[in-house]
Amino acid sequence: MGTVFLAEDERSGRLVAVKAIRPEFADEDEFRARFRSEVNRARQVPPFCTAEVLDADPEHTTPYLVVEFVDGPSLAEVVEEQGPLTAGNLHSVAIGVATALAAIHGAGVIHRDLKPRNVLFSLGTPKVIDFGIARAFEATSQHTRTDQMVGTVAYMAPERFDSDSRGVTAAADVFAWGAVVAYAGTGRTPFAADSPAATAARILTQPPEVSGLPEPLRDLVTLTLAKEPRDRPSAHELLEMLLSAGPQESLTLSQRPELRRAAEAAQHSGRHPTGGRRRGRTRTDQAGPPRRRLRWLPVAGLAAFAALALAGGGLYAMSTADTEAGPAAATRISVAPPAPRAVRGPGIVDRLDRPIQWTAHTMDTGGSCDFDREFVVTTGESNEVQCPGPTESFAGDQSIAVDVTVRRPGSCALVWFRFAGRSGYRLSACESLVRLDLEDDGADTTVTKVASGAFRAGHRERLRIDLRGQSATVTIGGTPALQAPITDPRLVAGQVLLGAATATAEGPAQVSFAAAEFRSL
């Protein structure tokens, strides 16, 4: 995002970190407004296991932020050099980072980029840095979204892979807490895989791997790594569970009085409703079965936490409407069962003969997406049309199948996949060739192309794209047509979209689609 300078406060002699924002952001009014707003809120975050925000100037030619200088290694550096943390230090990190999140969320701020490199050790006590900044970048352009995804995908909550992740709530930070603590205790992230794409797929579809963590911390981490934001505890609930947990937590707190003081202070700091959790709407209230009876367990003592730990499998904090009103709301949790197996990815099945998941749409340029027994896409003045459709984000292995008809000579049917923001892969099915391109914010790079006469005008053909690992295989009418690598680390998840383009300059292109089946594999 910019350059960090070590500076000295002339008046106090105190060392500070000055974070200067990259010049290209300075010219964006939207960025300045967001940066101003976020910094003002970040300055209200109490310094409980956080690096204090000391000053900022969003109006400066080069906007900057001044924060407390934490003279110590990051959690990432410690684990890389010394291996996973042992029990005492691990619980110190768990409590310290939860304390920081409680303080940050209490001020109405969402961190959005919590990861081991943003946890620094100051005299052995963890401090979280860089909160409340990422959102300013996400709100402006696509400049850094993809950059950030490369570095932090292992700590990103499932909802952050949605095509519009701006609705992300504080629950995403709680998920990141679980991933950070798992990394600290085992040396690996809970959804670790060979590539960012595979990691994203595991985050979206697989249970976490936390077997190396000690109990009862393991159950708490599992709880925070729930796929659904509403199934995760708030930072305050998490902190309360940690503070009233097992012997190791008690020992850690007795040995680190400054950590206990910070944790208790954060515990009683503001409780802004920033979470996207299931307050007033439990898992079962929403879509599942009513519980025959709720089993409420007080989390006031060690025995209670031990009982939770012994309950086995994942724990799900459950709030109900009647627990919302009073302070008791955060002091009781109930036990719910583990998921029976891996979470499924999405799927879409549509004949494309009538509007409902896809809708009719006419562009200003004269292009259109409409229904005439099939889904008919026509370009207007522009050379390319992309039709709105289901917004489900797919990750990992996937199959995309759809019937394609090139209705007018010189037309190409387009299928985008792993499309997020303005980037993704685009398959063009044209009269004389099939081509796979990488579309990156308006810039195209051809991955591969083959000559093919399968999509001659007026002929309906089944197009299938199988995404497995880092390879895409295209078959036409059941016959393999091409295979290509899909290895761009930024394109780990995204929508499937349909559209059309002109291959020649002989008037508007027109293609149609039918019998769409998009499935997670």
């Binding site: 879509a287 009513p290 099945v349």
Partner: protein
């Protein structure tokens, strides 16, 4: 949206265990499971004649279309047996439990299809008993869950 509210008594007052795995959660010979695993399977409502409990995601009478999500709907005991979940699990004691497929399936709505709801409100997102004939929704009845 054309609804027939207040037909509580006429609705599918589904008791738990209406689709125990051994009895197959429905697919008649003309339909195939959407997903190969696990058992029990989700009903492929897009083909053949089927009857199953699904989640109604969208209902558009004008477009004669619905979007549904196939589910597994079982009583607690059957659910735990089917998914090999220990009997101490709280779900085993529930009257009914669902497992969602996460697959959104668009179906044509028969011109004479009936939508039966319990309270007459917006049915989107509720569990319904769906009847299809040759991949077309012909009867949709909200599952009454007192």
């Amino acid at each position: 949206m054309n609804r027939l509210p207040g037909l509580v008594a006429a609705l599918a007052l589904l008791t738990a265990g209406c689709s125990a795995p051994e009895e197959a959660p429905s697919p008649p010979a003309t339909s195939a499971p959407v997903s190969a695993a696990p058992t029990p399977t989700f009903t492929d409502v897009s083909r053949g004649d089927t009857e199953s409990v699904v989640k109604l995601l969208k209902y558009d009478r004008q477009a004669l279309a619905v979007v549904v999500e196939p589910t597994v709907f079982l009583d607690g005991t059957s659910f735990c047996t089917a998914f090999r979940i220990p009997g101490t699990d709280p779900r085993c004691e529930r009257d009914w439990v669902t497992e969602d497929s996460k697959i959104k399936v668009t179906l044509p709505l028969g011109t004479r299809a009936k939508l039966l709801t319990v309270r007459g409100g917006d049915p989107d997102g509720v569990l319904v008993r769906l009847t299809t004939e040759d991949g077309t929704a012909t009867r949709i009845a909200e599952v009454y869950l007192p």
